[in-house]
Homo-oligomer: 244 residues x 2
């Protein structure tokens, strides 16, 4: 499993991904699931992936090859809109799956992947899109402007609260890391280090940071959340029982 | 789907269950999933259920029939230990499933149920046990003394924080309701009203309360959580990016 998320904020885009991969419980490793691609001065992409690791890597390799020897009419270098780039990634993903699904199917393994693609092309709006294994895509909604792939359930409520509270980019980083931390506590197949990427529209430059499992933030976070949980609880209206 | 939880606290046991049932998206209804059984003055049980509604109801009917015309060597009236009561419920559950699984299997439906059984028998300790569809059981652990059945992922982190913060019974009620609220926001098949039950060891009397969707607690909670989320975020250590 995997947990990747992306948020679309007023100030820009935020991406966070774990790095744990596993084939069974006894074959655990660390691989990047967040990739920054800048195939031209007028465009930048962040691609996050969840699903079959081999498929993910071949998709990235094909995307990279297409930039030098284009196999497709549209590549990340030539797409004029983000949705065209998303459809292109979806086509590459389906082509890779098509090639391996029979062999993987024979051992009961799933070849498919999901992706989050974010970034900006030229004067277009910076945005985040989720690409399904079937090759189609959705945008983050205006009501809940975030996307999640992989193990999305444990950390959803924190993202919702963050959005409802109109957090700034700096605050959203902390919300996203807490969402990640709560997921990693519950699902062994999600783990540090975590890759964080921020994009401010018009900059065409992605800020990246890797956060280790021993980072000050992660060790301080649990104690601080506990304390504020207690404060919040004290302010919540009491739930009273009438005498029977 | 369903979301039921139970917590074992120093002061006693806490149970919370939603009431939404659905067969598809267009057949939604409200049924109790939390049942209090007092088959003798020296014992009290709270039974929560998740899974096939018809199976749940037949299990409850058989348990009730066994109390007047015992079909089994052990019933809830005669079990001497909580784990015996759990194994009894597991046997009844398996017997009901056995009777219906073929017919349900033909339409691709699942006949199984999971249960949480809590309470106290005589001088035994008050405790909560989870009963699997296979009829075996587990206790809540000492490290994380809560159990969840149904849609357990969305609300888990809040329960973990509550346990880590050593909340009192009154505080745990608010933690449990927030865990429920965050689950209902994310999964349409979990919804109000919510049934809450508290049990203080030695009392052999369960306090019950039904909480409607419009309850003051639920409407106030989101605003309060948002506010404390922002306060917690401000205190969390900053995540800084070095200049490249």
């Amino acid at each position: 499993m995997t947990y990747c998320l992306a948020m679309r904020l007023k100030e820009g885009l935020l991406f966070l991904a774990d790095t744990r991969t596993n084939a069974g419980l006894d074959n655990v490793s660390t691989f990047r699931k967040l990739h920054v691609l800048t195939p031209g001065p007028d465009r930048v992409f962040v691609l996050e992936s969840a699903g079959n690791l081999a498929t993910t890597q071949e998709v990235l390799d094909r995307i990279s090859r297409d930039l030098t020897t284009p196999n497709e009419s549209v590549t990340l270098a030539s797409a004029e809109h983000l949705f065209e780039a998303a459809l292109y990634v979806g086509r590459v993903s389906r082509a890779v799956v098509e090639e391996h699904k029979q062999a993987l199917g024979e051992i009961g393994a799933d070849a498919t992947c999901s992706f989050i693609l974010g970034g900006q092309i030229g004067d277009g709006a910076a945005d985040v899109l989720q690409i399904y294994p079937e090759g189609n895509y959705i945008r983050a909604s205006d009501d809940l402007p975030f996307l999640q792939i992989g193990e999305s359930k444990y950390g959803k409520f924190l993202l919702e609260l963050g959005v409802a509270a109109h957090v700034s980019m700096d605050e959203a980083v902390k919300v996203a890391l807490t969402s990640m931390m709560s997921t990693a506590r519950a699902n062994l197949s999600v783990g540090p280090p975590y890759d964080l990427a921020l994009y401010r529209p018009g900059s065409f430059r992605v800020e990246e940071k890797r956060i280790d499992g021993g980072a000050e933030f992660l060790s301080a976070a649990l104690e601080i959340w506990e304390r504020y949980l207690l404060s919040a609880i004290r302010e919540l209206p009491p739930v009273t029982f009438e005498s029977p």
